[in-house]
Symmetry: C2
């Protein structure tokens, strides 16, 4: 008999639908009545809060400070950088009026007398509005570098949306920095790419590859876009964070000038970098299994959940007291520099239902505590990274003393498992036939899961990318920073190529 | 000779202009190129981050969890509650298109083909969109109470704006809760009013009065609006946080029903409550003086700033080492349950300029450290709550050992000073003449600062409020919760009144 799972369909059966069901079962987010906009529910938002807290500390440790800039960007600002406006004009929410009034049929309509002289765009990104302020604030080399970040909401009108992964409104942080020299701006771009990579790997357990984008995948207005790329369990790539070297494109478009130390006027060099609520989806698709979400301990809102097992009313107070004292003791332990996060679930629900709710939510460690466990002064433990029925008794003191180590083991184990999956499905590919085979579904039973990362040569020609995209839906995810120079021939055109790049289907 | 001050004009000379200059001198915020929207600069945003952190912990301690709901509210949602839409229709940003395209003259315009079927309103508050989700989530009494909060941005199209105090876009938190009974919802409304009052007083040092609003000042759609009211130094009132008992108005408008424990269908009872970036302005206007911002230690991004005094290059390393070790030692002390926040300012600026920059920013304690202080193992200390030239030497160990107490003394002192000002300008007023005198400027030299809180009788008649507003620009700020029953006569109409209310000019 096939093993039963909490999530239907399984990943093998239908990966995209599995993802939707996992998010729903964990109660992390759902679609709202506003087209393309999601509601982030408490469990999902608590994950985002942990992401924010950790990432924010990394930004501050690298010298950045937070600020806040307007939600609205005047249309004329967006137009200042030609490629920038071209990249965003097709997907932006436009504010045209500032008042409603009763229309001819009594229903409210935008008041014609309150039409804005200039439409406002709900920020799809803030380079131009922040650049405008930079132009005001920066006069001299003494004002540089200027290292700012903001946490905010962003709107890009998407036609096909998916919870966390692609939504019309999403939450993110956007760093914006200005520097006196090209070299310093390049170093900043690289530094923040490194911060993102470390964060993704160490905190979310998501292995990533650092690379640079090809011109066709660049941020509109950037000189170079760097990104970290991860592989999901359906072997598709997901861009998990980007760091842009903007050169002097925006400083010239907006007019951000400074006097250098020799007194001559220069344009500053800028960067921008962002990570979004998409990371929550990336993390779910990296670690989730057929029983639901699997949270790495670092990001889990609760790292340990205690489930009191109360079959008779007369044991209630004894069991609850034991659970509460255990929770207090655990909260005095620390993991990754913070107190262990423990929750006692005393809801009046059937035991099985309760246990499964926490499995689906992905809590790393579950403890079931009943009179028998108390008698033995032990805990009955289940780990989310093991099978749901694979539980064992552990003496209480041993469990409490080892909690930090256990959480670290789970954190590392999830990362290792994800890296193994990625490495298993990463291949050097040297012929066109092999390339097409790699990206063609093998069976009708599992149409979604196939392919992976193809390390193949590319001559640098745009037409090769277009062929791969139209024939296979495959794009160049990045040119890995650590990709060695190696003479070869483009797998598609046969033209000479200096190095391999990563080709994949992508989110 | 008159004493010189860092801020011109002084409070006495021109209070509104003093406020603008103080915010500018502290580099906390400035106007953006987007009409009515402000840019919150790093020092101002750090204050907001401290407010968020403390307030959020208070919400969580009272059982609330955070979530996130869409920025956009469909027009039809806003229309569901008649008074609600009436209250917000006149000041909302309306999104009508989702794409730009080249117009006849080549400039970008909203694409006619991308006109939305239904306009979207940028949230002026979220009762209706959150209510829509509540209606989906709540089925049974077991789902209640539902206690949510969100931190987000809000847009209300304001015609006259002032940094922090009134801006078209602002940041806030909005709590939204649903309950099975009227009583529970009333208790929640009261609980959150209490959380706001404690926060304002204990954390920001802003003394407040808890009260209920008259019908004319109610939140559109509320049954009752409770608020905390503070007095600024120009004796005007400022509403610093509101907690609304919404009754079943929104649950009936939106359709939020549940099965109670006897199986019969009921509408839930809801509340909402909010506090905004306005509190930063309230705090500045409560404590600021003619030298700039004065920050209560609890909310100060830096509680102690260390200013190395280096007149000769050969003492530089000795002075810097002493300052750094002092900073480390101070950071090991704690105040209000957190490590003391210390900053060493090693910028290459003239000493006076540097010192004054921190005075204007409002840092509670400044330490100047030069070779002479090091020789005596002492610190040369200035307190922001004292005059700028009132400094004294303190032995280092005494200072470090007493830092927590010192910060507490400053925190309490600011609160006491503010309460004294409020009490001095709060009067029982029993005649019409006295009332008019109280609210009439006394001299042309200081037209702004006059009046205060008039505790005067009000019969409950709307026309009395209208008279005070049109004659004097005075409104009823609240009916204090602790106002005793006391027979009297309305000061304006002579009609019988059961209690005194607070009348004042207001922000």
């Amino acid at each position: 008999m096939a093993q039963k799972h909490a999530i239907s369909p399984t990943r093998e059966e239908n990966y995209p639908e599995w993802y939707q069901q996992v998010v729903r079962a964990a109660d992390m987010a759902e679609n709202s009545p506003v087209r393309g906009c999601m509601v982030i529910k408490p469990w999902g938002y608590a994950v985002w809060e942990n992401i924010q807290k950790n990432l924010d500390a990394r930004f501050k440790a690298t010298g950045h400070v937070n600020a806040y800039f307007p939600l609205f960007v005047p249309l004329s600002f967006l137009q200042r950088e030609a490629r920038h406006v071209e990249g965003f004009a097709k997907e932006c929410a436009v504010v045209t009026h500032h008042r409603l009034e009763a229309g001819p049929d009594g229903e409210l309509v935008p008041a014609p007398s309150a039409k804005l002289d200039e439409p406002l765009i709900v920020r799809p990104t803030s380079e131009t509005i922040i650049g405008e302020m930079f132009a005001k604030w920066i006069q001299s080399y003494r004002d540089l570098p200027l290292l700012l970040n903001q946490w905010c909401n962003i709107v890009r009108w998407e036609m096909r949306t998916r919870l966390f992964l692609r939504t019309t409104e999403f939450l993110w942080q956007e760093g914006h920095t200005a520097h006196a020299t090209r070299q310093e701006a390049l170093e900043e771009t690289d530094r923040m790419l490194g911060v993102y990579a470390d964060f993704a790997q160490d905190f979310l357990g998501v292995p990533v590859i650092k690379g640079v984008k090809t011109p066709s995948e660049r941020f509109p207005g950037a000189v170079d876009t760097y990104a970290i790329e991860a592989m999901m369990q359906d072997r598709k790539a997901l861009q998990a964070g980007t760091s842009h070297f903007l050169g002097q494109n925006f400083s010239k478009a907006v007019g951000i000038r400074f006097l250098d130390d020799s007194g001559s006027e220069q344009h500053v060099w800028t960067t921008s970098w962002g990570m979004t609520t998409r990371m929550v989806g990336a993390m779910i698709m990296t670690h989730g299994d057929d029983d639901g979400v699997v949270l790495p301990p670092c990001v889990a809102p609760s790292q340990v959940v205690i489930l009191p097992v109360i079959h008779k009313d007369e044991v209630r107070s004894q069991v609850m007291e034991y659970c509460q004292s255990l929770a207090r003791e655990l909260a005095e332990q620390s993991f990754a520099g913070q107190p262990v996060r423990v929750e006692v679930d005393s809801r009046d629900l059937r035991g099985g239902e309760k246990t499964w709710s926490w499995i689906k939510k992905g809590v790393p460690v579950r403890l079931e505590i009943g009179p028998r466990d108390i008698a033995q002064d032990s805990v009955f433990m289940g780990r989310r990274d093991k099978g749901p029925r694979e539980k064992k008794g552990v003496p209480r003191s041993e469990f409490v003393g080892g909690i930090s180590e256990l959480l670290q083991e789970i954190q590392q184990g999830l990362f290792d498992r994800a890296r193994k999956l990625r490495d298993t499905h990463s291949h050097k590919i040297d012929s066109r036939q092999e390339f097409y085979d790699f990206f063609t579904p093998k069976s009708r039973k599992r149409p979604e899961i196939h392919g992976g990362f193809a390390y193949a040569h590319w001559s640098g020609d745009r037409s090769e990318e277009e062929t791969a995209k139209s024939d296979l839906g495959v794009t160049i995810r990045c040119i890995p920073l650590d990709s060695p120079e190696e003479d070869g021939k483009c797998v598609l055109s046969g033209k000479p190529s200096p190095k391999r790049v990563i080709w994949a289907k992508a989110y």
